[in-house]
Amino acid sequence: MKKDAAYDAVVIGGGHNGLVNAAYLAKSGLKTLILEQRPLIGGAAITEELVPGYKFTTFSYALSLLRPEIVQDLDLVSHGLLVLPMTNSFQPGLNGEYLLLGPDSDVNFHEISRHSVEDAESYRDLSHLIDRVCHALKPLVDEIPPNSMSQDPADLAEMAALNQYLEDLPADIRAMLEKFTTCSAAEILDDYLECDLLKAQIASSGIIGTKAGPRSKESGLIWLFHKLGEYDGVQGEWGFHKGGNGGFTQVLARAFESFGGTIRTNAGVDEVIYKNGKVTGVRLGDSTRIEAPIVVSALDPRRTFMQLVDPADLPSDLVQAIRDFKFQGTASKVNFALSDLPKFPGLNGHRNAFTGFTNIGPSFDYLEEAFADCLAGRYSRRPFLDCCVQSTVDPDMCPPGKHIMSCFVMYTPYHLAESDWDSERENLGDTVEATLEEFFPGFRKLVEHREVVTPLDIERVVGLSEGNIFAGEMFSPQMFLNRPAPGWNQYRTPIAGYYQCGSGTHPGGGVMGGPGRLAAKQILNDHSTATSPAR
């Protein structure tokens, strides 16, 4: 059996959280190794030049949730961080109507007024309230959550402090927070707005990546989660990293290497090695053993607890919680190389409609119909699409004059009732094209190349179980104190020295980096306690 040089820490998985985690560890002086099963780093945040000159954001496609602390702490700007603003949000309707929201709140007021004068005003109230809710949540998002299962006095004190913090919030924020965690996006929106087009546009944040419709009670929390991001301090705004999210993970990789870290690709880990409840290293697919007193899994909870280690060695309540942890991926990607910009018939004289997100999902009914297909075990015949013509934001994504369009597709259940994804892949591509053709007549003629990525492809390529883009559903019972399991939400595992830092831990999915950062904080806390001379 081959044996490699020892490291202080080995991080399994080179996605954005693995990279963030490893970079913090390396920065603190630990000799750190990242092991990535694929030939390229980045996990689900990669950019691939599938056709010469055309760059595709195969999986994730925008930035907002990325914790600003990470940018500062890891000095990402000096390693090439460049996040371009996505300034508009375009919601085409059927029959030529549309809603185009941009960076100016007064212009937005008048745009919404075309549909409903009262909505135009209520939209401001609602936006401000959500901003305040998000602001109140930031300390919880950016700290290691307390352990709700522990009877340790320090943990009990932390739980009490959390409850006190929530109790001390202003009443309207507390009430809204309660709504977000218990109500559907539709229920909340119906209290504030009447315009279907506007409500559907907002509610789309509540269904992204989740097996939920706008009228499902889980959608409130998903919506709130997506509002926690920012662009230069503007909450809920999105940006596009130069070269796509693959460009971003390359920045992280450079930062990690600048701190002395080592990346090894084509290095899938078969198992984590431990003895007497203490981790000692990992074994790769080719049987190479790498020793390290700290091993961090950036993989999802199922892989972290059920595959990399023997579940028989873990407490049964944890094993049960992970078995029950819902993945059930429902999202796909269809990416296009286009010869020109799509044209929307009703859009007269508006420039820059595409420099942001284009939402295909004009009403709750449309979205619910799409969701009904999913519940019946088939992909939506008329899917919800979250599109982005990325070349309007970053012209270097493709040759001059051409365009790249990323389409996030819902709903496409991982488990198809009557078929399988290898048979349905191109049919899904056709369905998406047909839907786009309906909204943008002539769309099909613009298509020069198409890439279809199903939940099965996400699982096969990236390793995310059942293709869930968040490494597990972000339902209340799987969040915060319970992510990924009650009592195991502080990045540790029952095996000493073995940690978890993927999106399946707090604060959750999206290109956030929060799990990676907070896990590093926990690891470094434990490490400094373990190595302090006082002990």
Binding site: Q72, V77, G80, P85, T87, H135, D232, T355, D394, D396
Partner: protein, 417 residues
């Protein structure tokens, strides 16, 4: 009654059609757009990621010619113009006899005895009067402001666009210029700008302005060419560490007291005099400047400030609000204090303040006494948080804050981030 309407630049009609906001400001009596779209950030990123075009026509433009021109400019300008070869440009300043700066500007050496100069404030009379007082008969100074419009094409794709209009761009190095034909129109191109990025400035004869504008737009279409307004330009210039008249300094000409005046050394332009020992020429203000250089009698130095992000966040979070970042650019004075046992010990002030979207942190241009001007020195910058003064940790930093290799790279290439 006759209406005194603001003037418009030769490109105004073309730009007006693109101004989605309908907002105009006055700049030297001309209409100038603060921004064209609702997102200043988008315009700003045209400069840093694709290509932006800025109408810089309101600058005053002078042609200086004649056999005495070099000798005259050697005497008037602080930097030695004889070091500027034909086909080159020089960023320089001109001072009063006490060594205080009157103005700065870029001068282009078009021929052995022909120079073109841009200036922010009118200077025709000043140059003519100076020539006459010093008895230079062989120098002619003409105001050609109305004869040309100037477009600044700036950003990583600037070369890809400009090179479609003229082959002259192929050979140009940073701060070089050439006369060239663009679509049959005799123009001038220089590899200069006010953004600190790869960029060119085109001098287009007024009569041809519309036609050349259309050619430029067509050449830039596939590179997302974006007209940029004053706001985005100013954000870029802070990152580039480029000073702005009436913001970061004022002309000695209209100052009341010396406290309002500044020497080139105080403005951070010590680099202009690196070879002063070998430079034997007389120039206006030399004695005072030389004294400041040798005796370190300058009262302050203009430096960059790197504002601590965590501290900036903390003072706002403590007040219960999000730290303001988005499109935050200020030209108002902010006080700077010494850090030590006592708070509020005055040290200097900041003139321009920017939350740099690119650098993801607040930065500022500041005036500090010599002993606090060393890079790395920590000071407190006063900012208002819900109207109350709070101190935020800041560190002195060498400017420019941002200086991409593509700015000076030869050949310019396209897209290096």
């Amino acid at each position: 009654m006759k209406k005194l309407a603001p003037k418009t630049t030769p490109f105004h009609e073309c730009l007006a059609a693109l101004n989605e906001t309908g907002i105009w400001k006055h700049w030297s009596g001309y209409l100038a757009a603060p921004r064209y779209q609702y997102s200043t950030t988008s315009e700003y990123y045209a400069i840093r990621n694709s290509v932006g075009v800025f109408d810089t026509s309101p600058l005053f433009k002078y042609r200086i010619t004649g056999p005495d021109t070099v000798r005259f400019l050697q005497l008037v300008m602080a930097r030695d113009i004889s070091q500027c070869q034909v086909g080159s440009a020089q960023y320089t300043c001109w001072c009063d006899p006490d060594g205080f700066v009157l103005q700065d500007g870029v001068i282009l050496r078009v021929g052995e005895e022909e120079f073109w100069l841009t200036a922010a404030e009118p200077s025709l009379h000043y140059f003519r009067a100076t020539a006459s007082q010093l008895a230079f008969s062989g120098v002619t100074i003409e105001d050609i402001s109305a004869d040309y419009g100037i477009l600044a094409i700036q950003g990583p794709h600037a070369f890809n666009v400009v090179s479609q209009l003229t082959g002259a761009a192929d050979e140009l190095r940073y701060f070089e210029m050439a006369q060239t034909e663009i679509e049959g129109c005799l123009s001038l191109i220089s590899r200069t700008g006010y953004t600190g990025d790869l960029g060119y400035e085109l001098w287009i004869p007024t009569a041809q302005a519309h036609r050349i504008w259309q050619c430029l737009m067509k050449a830039g279409e596939d590179y997302n060419i974006t007209p940029i307004g004053l706001d985005a330009l100013k954000m870029a210039r802070v990152e580039a560490g480029l000073l702005l008249l009436d913001v970061d300094f004022r002309s000695s000409r209209f100052a009341w007291v010396d406290e309002q005046r500044e020497s080139p050394i105080e403005l951070g332009w010590r680099w202009m005099f690196r070879k002063l020992a070998e430079d034997k020429r007389e120039f206006i203000g030399r004695e005072a400047i030389e004294t400041q250089l040798t005796e370190r009698t300058n009262r302050w130095v203009t430096v960059g400030l790197n504002i601590d992000w965590h501290d900036y966040k903390r003072v706002h979070m403590e007040a219960g609000i999000m730290p303001p970042k988005h499109e935050l650019y200020c030209e108002s004075t902010r006080n700077i204090y010494r850090r030590g046992s006592k708070e509020w010990t005055y040290a200097g002030y900041a003139t321009s303040f920017l939350f740099s979207s690119l650098l993801k942190k607040p930065i500022a241009i500041a005036k500090l006494p010599n002993e606090l001007a060393k890079p790395g020195t920590e000071v407190d910058l006063e900012i208002a948080v819900i109207r109350k003064p709070r101190n935020v940790l800041a560190q002195v930093q060498r400017m420019p804050f941002f200086n991409p290799p593509r700015k000076t790279q030869v050949p310019p290439g396209g897209t290096s981030p």
